[in-house]
């Protein structure tokens, strides 16, 4: 392990962390603008030109608010909850390949923090840990609405994890590897996995919506029934962390969907571009394409939120257990049979 390697990874981690925070920040702004557009309003337009400084104003407001810990709350866990939500949201970015390797001189720098051979399962594990922040925060608040929300979050998370795992298995049958780097490289040019796994992608996307607690699956923070859900008792930056974690989660799951099903940094005609732009600019164009895909998914998340009303709780469970899981299993069987036929048993 040479010192240049450590510095290189450290810089990469810092950049990715910074980018996810900035994107999460501006997702709040984008969300309000998209909502305004869909509802024929203007949205935030006071702070700076087009309201571009609104996230900063919101951040300052969050920091300045009074910090309240309810007297009956379990103090430590009350503080651990938002931190855990933030942590689990951020660590998912470690295994995502952001672009093809850059060559500076004779040093090749991969744009991925860690290429582990169980990358896909790592993502899945991080997703399944995500619920702890909500559960611990909701329980520690010692408020019945928060507790109800924590319990809803747990059961929703467990239910949709199963369908998500099953849709990943079908994807594994196609790719034959769990390393995200190899999955992306296998989708060179136009051979995106969504073309081979359309149903799998649909299932995975629905489950991502449920796992990130986004509408129409935002039952843990359903304000008409539960006041504010698990963050009812939170104020100041602790509340900010919860809200922020949701946007980081959205960014990470958009990145994962783009990586797994939409080719990551691959795009048609990339060979020509790579050959003509040099070893630094070429990969960075790929990264740019990857971010365009991510932004498209984030926009889709918002579009759905402001279009489709929230599910009822029994509808949520019905969809998860009786529709998505059987479909996912059928998808595995069909994929397996087709692969067996093509490869001649």
């Amino acid at each position: 392990m040479d010192i240049a390697f450590v510095i290189e990874k450290f810089v990469l981690v810092a950049i990715i962390f910074g980018i996810s925070l900035v994107i999460a920040m501006y997702s709040t702004y984008a969300e309000r603008k998209v909502a305004a557009f869909l509802q024929d309003r203007l949205g935030p337009d006071r702070a700076g030109p087009f309201g571009i400084l609104q996230p900063l104003a919101d951040g300052v407001k969050m920091f300045m608010k009074e910090e309240i810990v309810p007297s009956n709350a379990s103090k430590w866990l009350f503080m651990v909850g938002p931190g855990l939500a933030m942590l689990t949201a951020c660590i998912g970015t470690a295994v995502i390949p952001w672009g093809s390797p850059i060559a500076i001189g004779d040093r090749i720098i991969p744009l991925q923090v860690a290429d582990i051979n169980v990358g896909l399962l790592y993502i899945f594990g991080v997703v399944s840990l995500g619920v702890y922040g909500v559960m611990i925060g909701g329980w520690a608040s010692n408020n019945k609405y928060s507790l109800l929300s924590a319990i809803r979050a747990a059961s929703q998370n467990i239910s949709y994890e199963i369908a998500m795992g099953l849709s990943i298995i079908a994807l594994l049958l196609v790719t034959g590897t769990m390393s995200l780097k190899e999955i992306v490289d296998g989708q060179h040019g136009w051979r995106w996995n969504v073309l081979y796994q359309p149903l799998g992608f649909l299932l995975f996307m629905i489950c991502s919506f449920a796992e990130t607690n986004r509408a129409p699956f935002d039952l843990p923070e359903c304000e008409t029934e539960l006041i504010g859900g698990y963050h009812t008792e939170y104020s100041s930056m602790k509340l900010g962390f919860y809200l922020f974690a949701e946007y980081i989660n959205m960014f990470v799951s958009a990145a994962v969907m783009a990586t797994l099903y939409f080719g990551g940094y691959n795009y048609p005609g990339m060979d020509w571009v790579l050959a003509n732009t040099g070893p630094v600019i070429g990969p960075l164009i790929g990264t740019g394409v990857f971010f365009i895909k991510i932004f498209a998914f984030i926009f889709f998340f918002m579009w759905v939120r402001w279009t489709i009303p929230r599910f009822r709780y029994d509808q949520l469970m019905h969809l998860g257990w009786k529709v998505l899981i059987p479909l996912a299993i059928a998808n595995i069987v069909v994929t397996g049979v087709v692969i067996a036929v093509i490869e001649g048993f």
């Binding site: 379990s74 866990l77 582990i116 051979n117 169980v118 399962l121 790592y122 899945f124 594990g125 997703v127 399944s128 840990l129 619920v131 702890y132 559960m135 611990i136 329980w139 507790l147 924590a150 319990i151 747990a154 059961s155 998370n157 467990i158 994890e161 769990m178």
Partner: protein
């Protein structure tokens, strides 16, 4: 370096598993148990068993413990409504615990200190190799285990159905 990391993580495992027993609040117990499982994941990674590590992470930390926490939160146990245990139960508990300790110490004394096992293939824990082992030489035991799990699952579902089936 590997050994010192092992001793550090092992100490953490022991401390946190003791905390599971000693904490008064059941929810805190479960949270300590989750941390204990996390240290187990680190142990697997130290043994270069990446697949086992990540599966331990997903299944135990991500699914089973969420369900434990879910049930405990629903029950909402705390000191006020905890049923009082009689002296008899406590005495029985102590005796049972002592028996377990005696058995464990006896077994540990009976086994000779083994030579460190050196794997023929140090990368056995990686997904590809593990899969080839499981679906090759160990096909039958592996399938039997999955049938056992399946029957347990069917049994659990049958138990929750109230009406006669």
């Amino acid at each position: 370096m590997g050994t010192s990391v092992f001793y550090f993580v092992a100490t953490l495992s022991v401390i946190f598993s003791l905390m599971v027993i000693f904490s008064k609040n059941p929810v805190h117990s479960v949270l300590y148990l989750i941390v204990t499982f996390f240290t187990f994941t680190v142990h697997y990674i130290l043994l270069n068993a990446q697949f086992l590590a990540v599966v331990n992470f997903i299944v135990y930390m991500g699914a089973i413990m969420v369900l434990f926490l879910f049930v405990l939160m629903l029950l909402n146990l705390n000191k006020d409504n905890e049923p009082l245990k009689s002296t008899l139960v406590k005495v029985v508990g102590v005796i049972a615990g002592c028996c377990l300790v005696v058995t464990l110490v006896g077994t540990l004394k009976a086994t000779a200190i083994s030579d460190p096992v050196i794997l023929r293939n140090p990368n056995l824990g990686l997904v590809k190799n593990l899969g080839k082992e499981l679906f090759g030489p160990f096909m039958l035991p592996f399938e039997l285990c999955s049938i056992l799990l399946l029957s347990a699952m069917v049994g659990a579902i049958l138990l929750t159905k109230k009406e006669k089936v």
